[in-house]
């Protein structure tokens, strides 16, 4: 779960990492007042989930409060990549010489956190890492020990090699590196990134910060759960899905898919697209029962784009007849306008088939056949 820049900066500030002075604004007038209070030139940054805001031309600079108000007026309300800009971070503009990159993420292959740093931060860090791997330092961290003093020292020296006559900044860097790792573990981050960290006026400042919190850890990070870039209704729906253990992603198509298990659902999407069909969603649920399948059908009920629904049941541990009853419950109660195609095999298959016949559904045994069938019906409806 990604969080906003200003939230990530708040976590960093609480951990003792300096960030530029800033205020949030959701109107042009607020932005102007914020700039007035901050004094001097400001940067206006949309608080959205949009990636690469700078490259998209969504970051504005203003020298005076009046300019800030005007720039805010132009940014607020704009839509970009399906997201509306409704909040800006108005931040004191900071001059700097060098941009550093600091990031922590998970090395999924090794199963441990990895700290990454480079003295060439900024928006091109990925190409720096690719073309000049020697300019990037990576250190695997032991989850038990945490980031060691030696590792923090190594990273700090790599970023700012000790030089005769120059001010030694490694202590401050070491402290920032350790603080970053502290935030990463305390808030169950799956990634935390400061890019860039700059040297301004003799001390380091985090100019931008990105963080994502592990969705599976939200039960112990409850204070971080709040709506971001979504309506209250969407937020509540997402919470409900999380409680049920559902991963539901609405896509552009018109064939609803009701199938538990990420692997088989992806395989169905592949087969469907290869056959010219347009799946409307991805769904991953825990093992289904009568109530669960009845509930899941509601995902498609008020969606006008849904033309058909494909149900896939492989009842290895659960039972076809129980699940068929859930489908029957739904069909009898709602009489949906969309035809339903059911692929069903497994325990008590014959009993399940008989129940579905009572609501006019003839179950199909083959996975591929069911996909072909639902595509055919969908095409006939267009």
């Amino acid at each position: 779960m990604r969080i906003y820049e200003h939230e990530a900066k708040q976590l960093l500030r609480q951990a003792g990492v300096s960030v530029p002075g800033s205020e949030l604004a959701s109107t042009a007038a607020q932005a102007q007042e914020a700039a007035q209070r901050l004094g001097g030139p400001v940067v206006l940054k949309p608080q959205t989930m949009i990636k690469a805001r700078g490259k998209a031309g969504l970051i504005a600079f203003a020298d005076t409060p009046q300019e800030a108000g005007q720039a805010a007026g132009e940014l607020l309300g704009r839509e970009h990549a399906g997201e509306k800009i409704d909040t800006l971070l108005v931040e004191a503009k900071v001059g700097f010489d060098q941009e550093l990159y600091l990031g922590i993420t998970v090395d999924y292959t090794e199963g441990c956190p990895v700290f990454i740093a480079s003295s060439e931060g900024g928006v091109e860090i990925e190409s720096v890492a690719q073309e000049h791997p020697e300019r990037v330092i990576k250190r695997s961290i032991s989850p038990g020990q945490g980031l060691t003093k030696e590792q923090a020292g190594e990273i700090a020296d790599f970023l700012c090699p000790p030089k005769d006559g120059a001010v030694d900044r490694s202590d401050e860097l070491r402290r920032i590196i350790a603080a970053l790792y502290g935030v990463y573990t305390k808030f169950d981050c799956e990634m935390l990134e400061v890019n860039p960290l700059v040297l301004a006026g003799g001390s380091f400042l985090a100019l931008d910060a990105t963080a994502a919190i592990d969705e599976d850890a939200l039960f112990r990070q409850a204070e971080m759960v709040r709506p971001r870039g979504q309506s209250e209704a969407e937020f509540e729906l997402e919470k409900d899905h999380r409680k049920r253990g559902w991963t539901f992603l609405r896509m552009e198509g018109d064939i609803g898919i009701l199938s538990s298990g990420a692997g088989i659902t992806m395989a169905i999407l592949d087969l469907m697209r290869a056959g010219g069909g347009r799946p409307a969603n991805f769904l991953d649920t825990a093992q289904m029962n009568r109530q669960g399948i009845y509930d899941a059908f509601h995902l498609f009920l008020d969606d006008p784009a849904i033309k058909t629904v494909l149900v896939n049941i492989f009842a290895g541990l659960n039972r076809c007849d129980d699940l068929a009853l859930g489908i029957q419950d739904f069909m009898t109660e709602y009489r949906p306008s969309f035809p339903v195609v059911v692929r069903m095999v497994g325990n008590r298959e014959d009993e399940g088939r008989e129940i579905l016949r009572q609501v006019g559904i003839e179950a199909i045994a083959g996975l591929e056949d069911s996909v072909t069938q639902v595509i055919k019906i969908t095409e006939s409806l267009s």
Binding site: R2, K51, Y101, G103, T105, V106, D107, Y108, T109, G111, C112, P113, V114, I116, I125, E126, A129, Q130, V136, K138, S142, P143, G144, T185, D188, E190, M191, E193, N195, T210, A212, D214, D216, A217, F219, R220, G245, S259, S260, G261, A262, G263, I264, T265, M266, A267, L269, D270, L271, R273, A274, A286, F314, G316, L317, V345, G346, N347, L367, E368
Partner: protein
Amino acid sequence: MSIIAFKDTKVLVQGITGSAARHHTKNMLAYGTRIVAGVRPGAGGQEVEGVPVFNSVAEACASRPIDASILFIPAAGVKAAALDAMENGIKLVVIVTEHVPLQDAMAIMEAKRRLGATIIGPNTPGMISPPEKTMLGFVPARYFRPGPVGLASRSGTLTYEFVSRLTAAGLGQSTCIGVGGDRIVGLRFREALRKFQDDPQTEAVVLVGEIGGTMEEEAAELVAGGAVTKPVVTYVAGHTAPEGTKVGHAGAIVSGTRGTMKSKLAAFERAGIGVALEPAQVVKLLQEALK
């Protein structure tokens, strides 16, 4: 033969008094698994399906030899339970629970390396060795038959789908392992492949992958390097899935271009591994490989 779990593997069930645990304990016992003890703090002295329950892993281990543990524990308690098992000397731990926090999974993997244990999962239906009549998990046993095919899969539901097709085609299995659907899992494809290579009964291996992660690439590199000489057939779900957009740069710096479908298919091709582009091709490719 099989790999990892055998008919004499003595199994502990952690969290045995929960309703799902009771149900699956009954099924595992019926299949032939040697479940010798259960753990549930506060329930010591009770019995579940005739299996004695202990208050702690330490108590259970002190009372009898135990080789493996399967956890039926909610996500928030998985880290403590898995560490408890490993620190008491248990060398095989199956974690079926899904939604285990990443940082907990990382702590478990570190303990696994330190203590020389094997972890299967998290987020797996477990594993089954049909020739040994041993199941640690909750796969639908009636679809499995003893035979020459080893299978390792990132997806439980696709495991059932493929195994039912293999069995229908007369291709039984040596061992089938759900390695787990999470981003961090213990036993990976490369380790499963090594074990299948060393198992005399396994004649061919099926790997069921998914888009994302690097397990498929690692397996391909192992085969390309000559460490695996048995035929390997793969299916990877997610051909048409949009490549996930990464947040920030850190992930891309660590994994580079690995993890994409293109990278997986290219790695398999370099290794000469048969790729089934559709589920139906898996059985055909296996039949050709076993000729």
